[in-house]
Symmetry: C2
Subunit: 426 residues, 2 copies
Amino acid sequence: MIRGGILITGTEVLTGIITDKNGPWLSEQMRASGIQPAQITVVGDRPEDLLAGLESMKAQGLDLIVTSGGLGPTADDLTAEVVGRFQQREMALDEALEERIAEILRSLSARWPNLDMESVRAANRKQAVIPTGSTVLEPVGTAPGLLVGPRDGDQGPLVLVLPGPPRELKPMWRTALATEPLSALVADAPAFERRMIRIFGIPESELAASLRSIEETGLDLSQLEVTTCLRRGEIEIATSFAPAGEGAYQALLEQIRERHGALIFSEDERTIDELVAGLLQGSTVAVAESCTGGLLCTRLTDLPGASDYVLGGVVSYSNAVKEAALGVPSGMLAEHGAVSEPVAVAMAEGVRSSLGSEMGVGITGIAGPGGGTDEKPVGLVWIAVLQDGKQLVRSVVIPGGRADIRDRSTTIALHLMRRLMLGESD
Amino acid sequence: MIRGGILITGTEVLTGIITDKNGPWLSEQMRASGIQPAQITVVGDRPEDLLAGLESMKAQGLDLIVTSGGLGPTADDLTAEVVGRFQQREMALDEALEERIAEILRSLSARWPNLDMESVRAANRKQAVIPTGSTVLEPVGTAPGLLVGPRDGDQGPLVLVLPGPPRELKPMWRTALATEPLSALVADAPAFERRMIRIFGIPESELAASLRSIEETGLDLSQLEVTTCLRRGEIEIATSFAPAGEGAYQALLEQIRERHGALIFSEDERTIDELVAGLLQGSTVAVAESCTGGLLCTRLTDLPGASDYVLGGVVSYSNAVKEAALGVPSGMLAEHGAVSEPVAVAMAEGVRSSLGSEMGVGITGIAGPGGGTDEKPVGLVWIAVLQDGKQLVRSVVIPGGRADIRDRSTTIALHLMRRLMLGESD
């Protein structure tokens, strides 16, 4: 098995100011190329921490290390030099590369006429100083990528040095795969499959019990790497395997279907958002939201093409808006309270009739932290979904903080929408 | 100096299925407690990779390792056991802890009436098997946290074992800080200060030029660690320093104020969302959104207490809703198109009058990927903010993808809201 490590550099990533997206992307790409990702490590712009990261991955026997970042023109961009030291290679100016970078800078200068080209070029000359014997990957921005192997006769990982900006890193990864050193490394690696099963409506511990009892039936899961994860109120079962594991995966899928069939909503990569979007094609929906404040409408319109079926929504944060914009009777609000079954239904009916959609959704609840009572605690949410004279109405008490309660409410609403469109109703 | 490492476990994080938020959060918390974060490493649920991560951090001489994840009831949750092996401590069932976990499960079972409690309890018994000599941190969910030091007389890092879900991890970190082993470790550490300056309205390259020219004036920045980052359309300048650096920081702040004073909107930790919430106290707002699909209303209601000033909103994704719910004249839509200055103003006026708020906000734009023309490209957004007969109306063309365009639009709207409330108007 060929194993890889990912080393992300940048103090702004380490300190949480910006979120690393390259690590997970590279991990996924490695897997697709048959390289098993072993770790992602983030270090700041300190050369000794970067070197320690490289040495630690070497000590674990990894075959490939991909670095991201630290290739810019400023003084704290040190990756090429540190990788050179790690592979015990001298640094040298590649004059042809310097000229190609200068050419890129000349074309940039046309767009930024006020740049001081002399100082820019001096700063960028640094980017053409590379470890001897490197394979150069042509710049997408101004920074070249590098493939730096151990010196002839030495053992150790191949290091692929990529720039940090994703729009430079991604195409350069693909270029790197076609180069001799990397294509030779992955030539014999089996591509890994990744499959996803998504379940809604059981706690993670029940799935854990199922997986144990599946193993007890004698099914050999050793060819599969199964991970379960609770996300936005759903359980995701991700399974990775080499092509030879296909049979074992199908047997596992069969067993999970037998135990949780009705609650499995996706066996491909599609999310509940995508499934609902698919079902809504040719129809129209409008949503009335209270505690979620517009989050369900935001989720529905996250997907391109949502204007084909989302007419819009009303966020009725105040009772006055529930009455005026949605026609919820003030007597109903007084008698049952804003967080109640009849109000959720009236909101769904109101938004459907005022916006003229086929489906109507109403959500009303207490997101907290204030506003809860013994009878109606923080986390209580009523959700109503109506279409064609049919409806599904549910209440839940969602644990966690304000953000969890709002987020989970929209997940439940999407599942109710899906179930109603598939024919289930109260 | 006391240095710490963060070890995130979970194949679902390593493979990019879920995004790690604990690493950056813990990094920030360490820094605030005077511990210099040295690295964040993500490994999958393989015990050998987790152990290699621990050993590598020990080899670098780190004083504290914080792990996140791998404390659940399933078989791939192995962190406690691996940390026990790393610290050479036997595993043993803590019966009192087991009973406390069982108590939590009994209260959970009320919400999931169909659970097989016996198998759930068996799965959770595992969570009470911990390394001998650990300090137990009481469960927030069902998993306890652990502080596991080296055996008496051995050298090595203290390991703090935390659960993966952020709503369990965060309070438990605070509990851990108060325990003897961790409070002893940080007792002598100088607390690092972190200060944040937020600027809206200049490109990052202009700020970079300012920082260079500030250094050229002779200001010594060596005591400060300054990182700049473009986030949600704003520039964040984060500066970390030991208490002795306070003077240098004040001098830097003075210089930045001199150059960008009018565009600095926050010099404390407050975000634009919090500033707008503060200004809206005692007033009311309603928003009409098209391309953002409810995201501005969601952002406004993310903060607790938003019901004091947010009346609600209308998402008018279709033109019919713009007419019916917001009173935008059909002639105006036909003449100027839905993405135009008069329609943005009419949406803001319409939502203010129909919901009865003091401030009205209208956003209409083209989020893409489809729907752009030469005259009105993808990314064109018109935003209108009205209050007390005054208004600010702006158009922008936002680069990037659909999510960027939607997100950035809401940031701009919040800044226009703030400026109007501070007295600026067209």
